[in-house]
């Protein structure tokens, strides 16, 4: 790897992790676009070919589910399971960080943990409510009072989450260095030491051992 004037880099996300991120992200954008056409009256009457848009939305949903399952089964399962273990663990430092105090963070900071927990929960609930939206149209016993509401609210919350995520990943000056981690896989080590001190320290100890 070429050294830059900014110093050395440290590997953050491997291929499985990056693939999972981009498989989810691209499917999300495709479903958001088709979903908004189905949902917003101004767009749904403009585009109008409801059956086609609906089918694209459904096929992307199936492709999303298949891609996620394939990556979970064929990818680096050990790594993903370690990730999830870390994401679930909201330790004392994380709780201080969330109260806007300075506290050293691991490979995922507390905000990233919350974002990941919400994204996985929303993904599962999107799939559940989406399944009943689809199935309820075919068997009316499965039309429930809140299916559409849940699907709509998930969209609203996800877009809020996405806007924050995109701002931090692309625009905010002190966090946008992280973008390299999910595209190429590594991040600037000095930056990482400032933002994810516990992780860099643990990496250093494990390489020394």
């Amino acid at each position: 790897m070429p050294e830059t004037s900014r110093g050395s880099r440290i590997a953050r996300f491997n291929r499985t992790e990056r693939l999972l991120h981009w498989a989810h992200a691209s499917s999300f954008f495709a479903m958001l676009a088709t979903g908004l056409i189905l949902y917003l009256p101004s767009l749904s009457t403009l585009i109008a070919h409801r059956q086609i848009v609906k089918n694209v939305h459904l096929w992307v949903a199936l492709a999303w589910g298949a891609a996620i399952v394939l990556i979970l089964v064929l990818g680096d399962r050990k790594r993903l399971s370690d990730d999830w273990h870390e994401i679930e663990t909201i330790d004392r430092d994380d709780r201080r960080w969330l109260r806007r105090r300075r506290a050293p963070q691991g490979r995922f900071n507390a905000g990233q943990k919350l974002n990941a927990l919400l994204t996985v929960a929303f993904g599962l609930l999107f799939a559940l409510s989406g399944f009943f939206l689809w199935f309820g149209e075919r068997d009316h016993r499965f039309i429930f009072a809140g299916t559409g509401t849940v699907h709509d609210l998930l969209t609203l919350f996800s877009v809020v989450l996405l806007v924050g995520h995109l701002y931090l990943a692309l625009i905010h000056p002190s966090t946008r260095h992280a973008l390299r981690g999910i595209t190429v896989g590594d991040v600037d080590e000095d930056w990482a030491r400032g933002h994810h001190a516990k992780w860099v320290e643990a990496e250093r100890r494990s390489t020394l051992r």
Binding site: H49, R50, L125, S129, R141, D152
Partner: protein, 221 residues
């Protein structure tokens, strides 16, 4: 509580709340409709109504509008909007249920009963079904004669005290409140009196022909 259980409890809490929401979340759009300004509700569905079209939305001129009624009749007939309005006027308040899960309570409709349309069109014996063809090609749907003659089925030309708007099927639409909304054909411009029903647009795509609103949908029949 250990560090790990906090995240896990939050995760399963959200999953549980979302799953319960399927059964208990009411249509929040109705509440939003009263809370947000009209400029927002023009953009995002807040009134409860969602406008679904399968082709480009018809824009029919009420003055030039003609409803053709043919099939098992003495001779095919054509009705202008004024002709329909000259038939006995019927009014009703009914709730509109969409198959995708939203509903709008207490919609006020005015129009004509199918019984009066059949009489005016000179229907002959042998009619068992009515096929409603929309100006939104290729949308159509059928009702059996029994269904079409139910006391709360009408060809409506007014909604909530005003002529039906373009988005809701101007100038004339079918209202069949006991079935899901895809049976209530908008922009009706042709009724064929037939011996048997034909699969409508959504029925060709897997929907039920008899779309009775069940008791399990959370709204009551």
């Amino acid at each position: 509580m250990s560090d790990r259980t906090i995240g896990r409890a939050g995760f399963f809490g959200i999953l549980g709340a979302g799953a319960l929401g399927l059964f208990f979340a009411k249509d929040v759009t109705g509440v939003l409709g009263r809370a947000v300004p009209a400029s927002v509700s023009a953009l995002v569905p807040t009134s409860g109504w969602r406008i679904y079209t399968v082709a480009s939305m018809p824009n029919l001129d009420p003055a030039a509008y003609r409803l053709r009624v043919d099939g098992i009749v003495e001779s095919p007939k054509s009705f202008s909007l004024a002709d329909l309005q000259a038939l006995p006027r019927a009014e009703q308040v009914s709730t509109f249920h969409c198959v995708t899960g939203w509903s709008v309570q207490n919609v006020r409709w005015a129009g004509v009963r199918l019984h009066d349309v059949l009489k005016a069109a000179g229907a002959r014996t042998g009619v068992q079904a009515l096929r409603f063809v929309s100006a939104e090609v290729p949308y159509e749907d059928s009702l059996t004669l029994m269904q079409a003659l139910l006391p709360d089925v009408m060809l409506a030309y007014e909604m909530d005290g005003k002529p039906i708007s373009r988005a809701h099927g101007a100038p004339v639409r079918l209202v069949m409140p006991e079935m899901y909304g895809y049976k209530s054909v908008k922009w009706v411009q042709h009724i064929e009196l037939a011996r048997a029903t034909q699969p409508g647009y959504w029925e060709q795509n897997g929907y039920d022909a008899d779309a009775w609103i069940g008791r399990s949908n959370g709204f009551g029949a």
